[in-house]
Symmetry: C2
Subunit: 581 residues, 2 copies
């Protein structure tokens, strides 16, 4: 491809919309272009990278005889009602009506459709195991799209689904996907950690995430350097440094006047007690039902843990809704004195038989001597707490560490959640019907792309891993009025293309500085410069973007040398995939 | 891939939902599965074909240095209002609101987004010409989805867009796409005609369609065998065999009592006149404005021609709307006597100065002696007529022929419609700003797939062109308890895979008849049977699906022979592409 007629709008300045370094580089190198919030076009360079990632994913899935299919974006409401996720997905699900008024949604994931295929087509244990995957566009109406393509409202996902007739079979299919994922990441030049994760709205019996540790991450990962514990903060546990004590012969609950004291800090100061002697109450609405989350006053509620405890998406309550329901403002609510009791979910930090202070559901009043178990039900106790730096590792006596991370992929053991709900069965060797045992596995392609940019960049721009680079080589011809330079450039350009390589030829009438800067910014692995040295000594110059190494050689050996260097760069990455166990 | 663990749900019976032969074969061979009206999943065999078509399209576009990009499905309303197509697209456009209530649509085509990219990034004539394309999922809420994937509400399209600074440049870009399209069809084994077409809602200065003639087509193509005229019935012209005559000194309009005579046939019989002496009135609603289409009584209105005349999608009026507006039922409306006059579009069959009978806008009454030009305005006269078999060719004195056809692709000279509306300019060599001159070009991938099935099939099933076949070879092992058979099958299977070929191994424990039938039905180009002959004479049998030819050979030369046959099948198709001029 000749750059003079190529869509590559590079930028010198950091665009104002960029909120991470990778995002900034992707905009500056002309890879993507924002159309509306969380929705991007891919320009030629960016799309070439996406296609390379897609190819690697396909090769690795096919290596394990997983079968590629394609499921529709438009999904009928009826199917999503079978799993109850038409409702559970909340505002994240894009819903629309067709011209006949029928309800549709845009698939945010495809458990429903795949389970429908499985119940239609899988009959016997003899056909199992099978894994089906697709590489397809997904839609999620995220509340806070961010970091360019990292959290988009439309994005590309490889989602795979496995079907087995035994738990051991699922374990094997899941393990295969773990290997496939690691091979993919290694080939794409990514570094990652495998951590325990929340299954969120997917459900199932357990899941793990592949995490790329980076300061620009939106996720939080908890690790213990001593015992190797690693988990997403959405499920991570920890030991608290201080635990509430059980009180012998506690007093009865008693109103305390706390005029205008609406925060934990204000109440604890006013009453002269520690924040941990209070209970914090958070009132939310899930599927039109109120839920009261109770947690110790010095701690915070983790949104995903709470969603997992509820089992569905929820939303914050409006101030007027809180007043209507509790009879008091948000600062004065608590577990006692409800006309209509909400579902109370109690965090594990609240100790049965200890004594706490909480809101009285009456403005300007709190209640002291509230004893969990005596004064309100401890029927639902869950870990809904934000884990904090410096707390204890749940497995050993060490302290945990908190890091920022980006999720690169997520693998789930679904078990029979969908197959039971939707009646997807197989016949076993004795002729009995059983629900299929399922797994599901997802990789965001844009996250691989962005992750590679985040990992491989310097002050001058992107340094693409050779496996996913938009072009293998860039030829930079300078002093273009010299016909010998243009002939040599053309000759090498055509020969490399003839060998099946992707070559960009910067034939623009720009000065050398601009051309060098662009070549560095867009991160093509191998540069070939034909300019002053060629006229002087008949030499062309190879530059390896990754190392900065330069070699001056004769044009007649250039093809051989370029191919050799490229081969080495590719092999290095592919070899690292072969190390995966 | 081993068939025992492969998703290939073939069917013996013709499924009731099938409405064409190709549709039936695609369902029977397990290529697709309907999810909801006009929305299908692709199963592994079907998706492999789609991926092959995609690869061929990409290779041919890239051969001409066209650049692949990717534009979003989610489009903001504001962009579509710039071209006025937020309204013009009518019910075909899927519209939705996001969680903040902002209006979005699902892209049915991408002129708006591409023009937005062009106005952002193209600056100078020096960067032109450029052609950008994508292969992406499109959404159109069709009123009547049909023929499986032929008219789907969600489908895969290759859409290309060219940008030039001169009409000659556009002609060249358009001509390049014509060559690319023909090369693609030839490589995919399709037969096609290039015909004049309606530009419909795209606008622009002209367009052509690639049509596959087939009795199962939903389009109608008009051709003249004498002079070579060829056009889609949506734009085709013809000479009428009889023309209305101008009347000297016509009478004044006069009411005629026509009790309960609501159709052309009933009125003409009742009054003893020819149907061509009447005018037919069709009242429709376009963007909330009423339009009255007037045509001679013996002729029919062509919906697309009417849409082109109006310049926007329209809908039929409800009976109660007609009564409210015209003061009469549909059977009694006409061009005279409106309280609020609709926009009247008059078909070319209506002759100024002739005398007609039409509805009186009063139930049970018609009016005679209506003279166009005297009694109602002939300001908008258009060809909105359905062309009929046996009418005269518009170019010569021959008769036209009508055939059914499926549209395979459509290429448009857009000119400056979008660049002017949206301000997409380039600077010319004298420093002046001009609107970009655009073309757009679309191919439906599912239509290529379905077209190949329609063209290449026999009573036993599909006969895939080798270039797009889901697998290159199928190995059919029989008598599978014989270890020598399974070893030979495995050996050949592995060797072919090692050579980069796609191989399906039917290792199922089924009887030979079932395995042969499935192999024929799914249409893999080359079959290799290892069974009785192998045990008897040590021979394996090659069958070429297309010709039915069988060859018995020794296993040790099987690989060479299989590769040779495959090479020939592929070359034959690729060579036909090289004939394109």
């Amino acid at each position: 491809m000749k750059l003079s007629h190529f869509l590559m709008p590079t930028l010198k300045e950091v665009p104002s919309e960029a909120d991470t370094r990778a995002h900034s580089l992707m905009l500056r190198a002309g890879l993507i272009r924002r159309l509306t919030a969380g929705v991007h076009s891919f320009l030629p360079l960016g799309w070439r990278v996406m296609k390379n990632i897609e190819r690697i994913i396909r090769e690795e899935q096919n290596r394990f005889d997983c079968q590629e299919i394609n499921m529709p974006v438009l999904n009928p409401r009826e199917l999503w009602e079978e799993s109850n996720r038409w409702t559970d997905f909340g505002d994240v699900l894009f819903r629309l009506k067709d011209r006949r008024g029928r309800d549709l949604c845009l698939g945010p994931t495809h458990e429903e459709v795949i389970t429908d295929l499985a119940r239609s087509f899988i009959t016997s244990y003899r056909e199992l195991p099978q894994t089906w995957y697709q590489i397809q566009t997904k839609f999620r109406d995220e509340a806070r799209p961010r970091a360019g393509v990292i959290r988009g409202r439309q994005f590309t996902m490889m989602d795979a689904y496995s079907f087995d007739y035994s738990q051991e079979g699922l374990d094997k299919s899941y393990e295969n996907q773990r290997i496939i994922y690691e091979r993919i990441y290694n080939r794409c030049g990514l570094e990652y950690s495998l951590v325990g994760a929340s299954s969120g709205l997917m459900g199932g019996t357990g899941s793990q995430e592949f995490m790329q540790l980076t300061p620009d991450g939106e996720d939080t990962v908890i690790t213990c350097e001593k015992c190797g514990y690693a988990a997403n903060s959405e499920v991570a546990q920890s030991r608290l440094n201080q635990v509430s004590e059980v009180v012998e012969n506690p007093h009865e609950p008693e109103d305390v006047h706390t005029p205008d004291k609406k925060t934990i800090a204000a109440v604890s100061e006013f009453l002269g007690v520690r924040p941990m002697d209070l209970m914090k109450s958070v009132l939310v609405m899930a599927d039109d039902k109120p839920v009261l989350a109770l947690i110790r006053g010095d701690l915070e509620v983790n949104e995903t843990k709470l969603m997992t405890a509820i089992g569905a998406e929820y939303r914050a309550m409006e101030p007027h809704e809180i007043v209507e329901m509790a009879g008091a403002d948000a600062g004065f609510i608590g577990p006692i004195g409800w006309k209509t009791k909400p579902w109370i979910i109690v965090d594990e930090s609240i100790v049965e038989g200890a004594s706490y202070i909480s809101g009285a559901n009456k403005n300007d009043y709190h209640i002291k001597n509230i004893v969990p178990g005596r004064d309100f039900s401890m029927k639902t106790v869950k870990d809904i707490r934000v884990v904090k730096d410096g707390e204890g590792c749940p497995n050993c006596d060490s302290k945990i560490k908190i890091s920022r991370a980006v999720e690169l992929g997520h693998i789930f053991k679904l078990g029979t959640k969908y197959s039971k709900a939707m009646g997807a069965k197989y016949t076993d060797s004795e002729g009995a019907d059983n629900p299929l045992i399922m797994g599901c596995y997802g990789i965001g392609l844009e996250r691989i792309m962005s992750g590679a940019v985040d990992t491989h960049a310097d002050d001058f721009g992107i340094i693409w891993p050779a496996t996913i680079a938009p072009f293998d080589f860039i030829i930079i011809s300078l002093m273009q009025t010299e016909s010998s330079i243009m002939e040599t450039a053309k000759n090498i350009y055509e020969k490399l293309k003839g060998l099946g390589k992707d070559v960009l030829w910067d034939n623009r009438e720009y000065n050398p500085g601009v051309k060098f800067k662009d070549a560095d910014l867009i991160g093509i692995p191998i540069h070939l410069v034909i300019g002053k040295n060629f006229l002087k000594d008949g030499l062309v110059e190879i530059k390896i973007r990754k190392t900065g190494e330069r070699r001056k050689i004769k044009p007649k050996v250039a093809i051989e040398e370029l191919m050799k260097i490229h081969h080495e760069l590719i092999n290095e990455l592919n070899d690292s995939a072969d190390q995966v166990k």
